[in-house]
Symmetry: C2
Subunit: 465 residues, 2 copies
């Protein structure tokens, strides 16, 4: 990302969406342009701006004491920076030819058109809400927005029962399982896949499964939810699958999200196979000189597979916003793509991945070797050294790193950054074996677990090539 100031021409920048990508873009564009150079108008249909949706599980779980801690920048703070922020204002139509958007005041229903010179689409994602009987019953909650989080907390406060069922075992599912365990609930996670955390290969997901069971979470795999049963008051009382019912006083849906691109689709903007907007390296919507898009509503280039992916994650949304704001503000910045890094935890279990899983590599025609090693977070003799499992995929013949998955305790999660940087640099497993990583007994064994995996992967590549 780079930027340089250019003089504005009294243009108007319109931003659709007041969370991470949209407001980062607005803020960065404002940094580069005075109000008389660039007017910035941002529309947000909800009540909040710039909040951390990723923090909701920790708020629900009680680690974060109140909602406002999750708000990085309030509407007032944005307005104080000369951003004309309009809350509770939904954009209902997008007219690229006319360079205008139609908005509707959520409260009054009043509609109007606003013209733009430059447009930023940051409409985010919407949770997948399966079309199941009972899915809208009281006691069934998503956890996508701050309002969702508050509604769930209200339900928890007034529901005497302590049985919680979480549907879905991805990041949101396992984080919500932790949150509910922390609140003293009896937690069952109902998972369609063969193991939790389908962002990992199943052999690594198995480790998460075992650890979750060890934490007292009941993990039900290979279970497709067929509906939700309600009691006489219409409140949810159980989650049903083909095989059995799971009694529930509260149900949390953590099934994932899809790009929110209804407006863009209607306006004929280019969408990818995952339903996300397609942009170029400058985050400009393909084929549109003056429209940028970023955050959870876009697809991003996976630098390892060379294909487009949809990865709804706050850290990408912030980077997109920074790049968009720089470009829309007259500077120059690019977002090269991602390598697919993600980290999560459930209680003290840390789960991390970057790059391709086995099935991703197969899908894009890559042949590879895999190795899995056990090591420890610190020197074996140092107190609180904990076991760590590292799986590594390296390309057949070239030995190029393709992906790493790590499951362990303290110190496991962020170790994936070593592999994320190596993937970005296109390193081979063999090159990784001599990486000069930080070593001292409280921090690592003398061979860091990632180096142990790299040594084994490099050896396997040599043997088979």
């Amino acid at each position: 990302m780079s930027m340089s100031r250019t003089r504005g021409t009294g243009e108007r920048l319109v931003v659709i969406g007041g969370d991470a990508a949209g407001m980062s873009a607005a803020s960065q564009a404002r940094r580069l342009n005075k109000p008389d150079e660039l007017e910035i108008v941002a529309f947000e249909r909800g009540n909040f701006t710039s909040y951390s949706a990723c923090g909701i599980p920790y708020w629900v779980g009680g680690d974060v004491p109140d909602r406002d801690r999750l708000i990085a920048r309030t509407p007032e703070e944005h307005r104080a920076r000369d951003i004309d922020l309009r809350l509770r204002t939904e954009v209902t139509e997008l007219d690229p030819d006319g360079q205008r958007v139609r908005t509707r005041d959520v409260d009054s229903g009043a509609e109007s058109w606003t013209s733009y010179d430059k447009l930023v689409i940051a409409t985010g994602a919407r949770p997948i809400r399966p079309d199941l009987p009972g899915v809208d019953a009281p006691g069934v909650h998503g956890v996508q927005t701050l309002d969702d989080g508050q509604a769930l907390l209200d339900t928890l406060a007034r529901t005497p029962g302590r049985r919680a069922v979480v549907v879905g075992a991805g990041y949101i599912g396992v984080e919500m399982a932790e949150a509910l365990i922390n609140r003293g609930y009896e937690v069952t996670v109902v998972n369609r896949g063969s193991e939790p955390m389908s962002t990992l290969d199943p052999d690594m997901g198995r480790l998460v499964h075992e650890a979750m069971e060890g934490l007292g979470i009941t993990m039900v795999n290979d279970a497709e939810v067929t509906g939700l049963l309600t009691d006489d008051d219409g409140r949810v009382r159980a989650v049903t699958t083909k095989d059995r019912d799971f009694p529930a006083d509260v149900v949390v849906l953590g099934i994932g999200v899809r790009p929110e691109t209804t407006l863009a689709r209607a306006a004929g903007l280019p969408l990818g196979a995952h339903g996300g907007l397609l942009t170029d390296r400058s985050m400009r919507v393909r084929g549109h000189e003056n429209i940028w898009a970023g955050g959870d509503c876009v697809e991003v280039l996976d630098l390892v597979s060379g294909q487009q992916r949809h990865i709804p994650l706050g850290t990408h949304a912030n980077k997109h916003g920074q790049v968009i704001g720089t470009n829309a503000g007259g500077g120059y910045a690019t977002f090269p793509g991602v390598v697919g890094t993600a980290v999560s935890k459930v209680c003290d279990l840390e789960i991390a991945r970057t790059g391709l899983r086995e099935k991703d590599a197969h899908r894009v025609g890559l042949r590879f070797e895999t190795v899995t090693i056990e090591s420890t977070s610190r020197a074996g003799y140092y107190p609180n050294s904990s076991p760590m499992t590292v799986k590594m995929l390296a390309e057949y013949r070239t030995g190029r790193l393709l992906g790493v998955q790590i499951v362990g305790r303290e110190g496991a999660g962020k170790r994936v950054d070593i592999a994320a940087v190596a993937l970005t640099a296109g390193m081979t497993a063999e090159q990784m074996t001599t990486l000069d990583l930080g070593y001292a007994p409280p921090f690592s064994p003398v061979w860091d677990p990632v180096l142990v995996a790299a040594r084994k992967a490099a050896a396997k590549v040599r043997e088979t090539s």
Copy 2:
């Protein structure tokens, strides 16, 4: 590093030194060659093999309950792998032309010659023991070997006084300060430099200084030790500097080490400016086909400065041993060099560095920008988020990353690995701004502290170029 099996010819490999580099080399050579293909003889003048000298402060401090936990592989284990290990046998002369070494039995004094086909020099380093009055008095201890550690523990056990003075404020100094604080001592660290941790720039060392004071350690900077005072029994009673005396019931010398290359020097082998053996990429001693050297007795190439350095560190010694054993065993492996990564802690303060300090960059003719940022280890709203200071150096104009220093609490130390890999890959600060690092609220702010530093460094490079 790579390897391939080749058939041996009944040759003899002699290894001088039984710690990390030497025994890793011996073990790896044995893995590649059966005993009838390659005889391996290893000479060690002490009583131990393959132990973690880096772990000694934690043993002295009580975190590691006993000495044997620090031994990765015992003499018996090596012998069981068909390595002819001779303990308490000192090599006293090296004859490269005659391809032989002279040894002396430490106990009997008996000398003999042993011929070799291939030789590995892994003689390690020796502690700098300044030529000061009183330096050999009882109560004055180094902490280089397991025997040193035991001697210090014996002194601590029988000395009633609780005042400890540590001379030197590098890694060993601060780690020993922690060890002695943990044992309930009143600790004073006497440091010749302007701030502790001279492997950091002084502005970052200042943060270590403040944190050490906060832990109750008395930090005395700019203080050159002039001698040690003894009591009537000849025991140490104080450390003296030009300005004042520091009463001491026990004194620990942590002044650093020099390559132990007495034998090599006498044999006319090539030494560098730091007194270490000079090797090529295969860890072969320059100009000598059949002699390899590794570990604390060699100099290594700093990939950032392009110059030779002496970095005594177990993680390098192990890598060297692996490379040497592969090559001496008939395979192929190389050690490309280091970027100068190091990590340490004093109580809960984590200290990390990689690449060049300001003075290193000046010394090799690099012009650069520096930035220092404050961030947090986790999302600001997440419990136990702790402050972290990251300093970054990037080259003027090119923006190439030159170095990173980090001081903080939990999660600070190993973050330096991100920069270590980026340095190895030759990334610019600007390229680093879009690195796809692991993000979730318990692990990182939405912009990882290293990314925050990279953004600021990239901006500064743009402004000044």
